[in-house]
């Protein structure tokens, strides 16, 4: 991450992102404990609902004000078929800057890539990348191998369909898994493409400490990709074997979240640089 900080963004200033109505779900602890707010950013196809299921209330019960955002075109946010990674990044930065205090950004899947982009535009207190999908052709290859029928249409601008086996472990009851998969939506066509071909995130501002975690049995993010993502931030991934890609919905959802909150409570030092 020795890339230089970018000051002049004439193009972004000249063409500001269109505003879109955003859904933000929240569970706030009854007693303010001075802990930083968490902003959960779901990946492609998921909405804020994915975190509202378990994680929001559990984080709040441990004293963290917890918020989950639906990127535009997802969940209860405004439909946005033409959304790009930049639009999603805009949504995250807007939601984060709208919170009362400096927030911790928690991105899942492709939402982690969006969070990585947002980190260059908002000095987060800390960042957590859960099963990060940083994209590139390698990720695509994995998805194609595991789920060719669901993945191939995405190449031609169709919908990326993830199946139960990719997202959840066998421990999750079948009915529940079906219910979650039925709620999945789709990301913007251009955003899907940018996940493969788009520019890599710029360096983070404000030196946030970054935690990367995932599962070695994730069928979307291979272990090597996980390690690579962690290496970007000079760390090693925290692993939760036996879980699927959707760590926040899987049967043992509590373990990774508790690990995140423990890490935050230790008040990690700012990154070097």
């Amino acid at each position: 991450m020795s890339e230089r900080v970018r000051i002049v963004r004439a193009w972004e200033w000249a063409r500001p992102e269109r505003p879109a109505r955003r859904e933000v779900l929240s569970v706030v602890p009854e007693l303010e404990e001075g802990k930083p707010p968490l902003l959960f950013v779901p990946g492609f196809g998921h909405g804020a609902w994915a975190f509202a299921e378990h994680w929001l209330s559990h984080a709040a019960s441990r004293g963290f004000p917890a918020y989950a955002l639906s990127l535009r075109g997802h969940g209860g946010s405004e439909p946005a078929p033409a959304a790009t990674l930049r639009s999603y990044t805009h949504d995250v930065v807007q939601a984060a800057a709208g919170l009362p205090r400096q927030a911790v950004l928690v991105g899942h899947g492709a939402g982690a890539r969006v969070v990585a982009h947002a980190l260059a535009r908002y000095p987060a207190r800390a960042a957590v990348l859960v099963a990060p999908v940083f994209g590139g052709w390698g990720t695509f290859g994995t998805a194609l191998r595991r789920n060719p029928v669901g993945t191939l249409p995405a190449v031609f601008g169709g919908r990326l369909r993830l199946n139960r086996r990719q997202l959840f472990s066998r421990e999750l009851p079948d009915g529940e898994a079906r219910r979650h998969v039925a709620r999945l939506g789709r990301a913007g066509r251009r955003a899907q493409w940018q996940l493969l071909t788009g520019r890599q995130p710029e360096p983070a501002v404000g030196r946030p400490p970054v935690l990367v975690l995932g599962s070695p049995d994730d069928r979307v993010v291979p272990s090597a990709a996980l390690a690579r993502a962690a290496r970007r931030y000079a760390s090693a991934p925290l692993l939760f074997p036996g879980m699927g890609h959707d760590l926040m919905l899987d049967a043992r959802w509590r373990e990774p979240l508790d690990a995140i909150l423990d890490w935050l409570e230790k008040d990690p030092a700012p990154a070097r640089g």
């Binding site: 000051i7 004439a10 193009w11 972004e12 000249a14 500001p16 505003p19 807007q94 000095p123 030196r207």
Partner: protein
């Protein structure tokens, strides 16, 4: 990384050091002092904290927001003040304004934005409100003695020693009043725009507004609606750019051209062309023809001025020559009889607590000689933040100035060689300008073009970090 987290009133510790006149100094170690909690001061506090520094910020008022807080007695804003640069150019680059705000927010929204910025990054705990800075003196080891007291001169003075100082006391609070012959005997009311707050002050009066800047134009437009008559005196012809062109904020259209790297001459031609097609020939309204190309003076963003001139509600007049008992003589031999004269003639930057020589202004001309409008030669631990008059928003610039200064301070311990090279760069670049040839440039010495300036800042940052 130097860090000082010991909060609490800096209490003098007599064992540490004494000022030149023998009073005790409390040593604040690696802490940095920031003077002013307006937009520039706030972003300096935030960025220094982010780079691990302890910060004491002194603010003479009891609230944040500086010029943008209309409750402050030094605030120049009036009831209708809106931004003249659109949101993307005005907000801090790492803390955007809400995207459901208008393109050109109102000053009250801006204050709420700063309040949110301060709360979001928990900045208030570092700010000493109601405390004004009396003196800032360099002492050995590139450190600074800062003497403060309660605003208004109450209570004892205290002196604290800091590792570095950021001057962010603003430049829009000390009114500049031109001198005119006979002004003392003029029987009508005379005020500077800084005391203009509300259009009710104009109602039913014959008003003369002096000054073709953005404030002068704003007040003229309000006078057109409220006063019984409005004269607007400008020294020269200006380019009155509408706030919207092609259905988009004009500065965004302009930066589209900048992003496409269209050369200045071509941009000027396009600009002239667009204005000619949309606004038309201004001499038809009795306005003087601009004696310069666009981008060569501070841009005036006002869609309404021409509108009211066209409706006969504003009478453009040339420069004033002298005042009489009840009338004002103009340079074209005419005389007019206003009841109220408002001088929208600008402000002068002032650093009354600092010896002028520190900023390279030994003869007291009021024009410091700095590099990047921020760094003084021979004082590596001093920075002025926000002393720019850009053709765009100031806050983005103030943010990056303070980031650059924070990184410089951090490198002073980590890489003294780079910090020293930066010092040489400062000395070599004093007085550098960052805009296309500016008309009347001695008066507008801190005018900068935002693109030129930010590119220079980018180069300075890259050089400093060896990237």
């Amino acid at each position: 990384m130097p860090s000082s987290t010991d909060l609490g009133r800096p209490d003098p510790d007599p064992t540490v050091a004494l000022t030149r006149d023998g009073r005790p100094v409390s040593d604040r170690g690696d802490t940095v002092c920031v003077i002013g909690a307006g937009a520039s001061g706030l972003t300096a506090v935030k960025n220094l904290r982010e780079h691990g520094f302890g910060v004491d910020c002194y603010e003479r008022e009891t609230g944040i927001g500086g010029a943008w807080n209309w409750r402050h007695d030094r605030s120049p804003v009036y009831a209708s003040t809106h931004l003249i640069s659109s949101r993307p150019f005005t907000q801090f680059p790492d803390f955007p304004m809400p995207d459901d705000w208008p393109d050109y927010p109102h000053h009250a929204q801006l204050l709420s934005y700063f309040e949110r910025y301060a709360d979001h990054f928990d900045l208030r705990q570092h700010i000493w409100f109601g405390t004004e800075v009396v003196r800032v003196e360099p002492v050995e080891g590139d450190r600074w003695d800062v003497t403060t007291r309660s605003t208004g001169g109450y209570g004892p003075e205290r002196t604290s020693r800091y590792a570095a100082v950021v001057l962010a006391n603003g430049h829009n609070w000390s009114p500049k009043l031109p001198r005119y012959e006979g002004l003392e005997q003029f029987r009508g009311e005379v005020m500077h725009a800084s005391s203009y707050k509300d259009p009710a002050q104009l109602r039913g009066k014959r008003v003369l507004v002096v000054g073709g800047g953005n404030t002068g134009c704003d007040i003229a437009v309000e006078a057109a609606q409220q006063a019984s008559h409005c004269w607007h005196s400008t020294r020269r012809g200006y380019w009155y750019a509408p706030k919207y062109v092609f259905g988009r904020p004009a500065d965004q259209v302009n930066d589209t051209l900048l992003a496409l790297r269209v050369p200045l001459r071509v941009r000027q031609w396009l600009y002239h062309r667009t204005l000619r097609l949309t606004v038309g020939d201004l001499t038809r309204f009795g306005l003087p023809r601009p004696d310069h190309r666009v981008y060569e003076t501070h841009p005036i963003a006002n869609s309404q001025l021409i509108y009211y001139v066209g409706h006969g509600e504003i009478t453009p007049v040339p420069d004033l020559t002298r005042f009489h008992d009840r009338t004002v003589a103009l340079s074209d031999e005419r005389e007019i009889d206003p009841e109220l004269v408002i001088f929208a003639t600008g402000y002068l930057p002032r650093f009354e607590f600092l010896d002028g020589a520190v900023l390279g202004d030994a003869d007291g001309s009021g024009r410091p000689r700095l590099w990047l409008n921020a760094f003084a030669a021979g004082h590596p631990t001093l920075a002025v933040v926000g002393l720019v008059q850009p053709d765009s928003g100031v806050f983005t610039i103030a943010h990056w100035q303070s980031v650059l200064f924070a990184r410089l301070l951090a490198l002073r311990t980590a890489r003294p060689d780079r910090a020293a090279a930066f010092g040489r760069r400062v000395a070599a670049g004093l007085g550098e300008r960052y805009s296309p040839k500016v008309k009347d440039s001695s008066r507008h010495w801190f005018e900068v073009g935002h693109a030129d300036y930010l590119r220079a800042l980018q180069r300075a940052l890259d050089e400093l970090e060896g990237k």
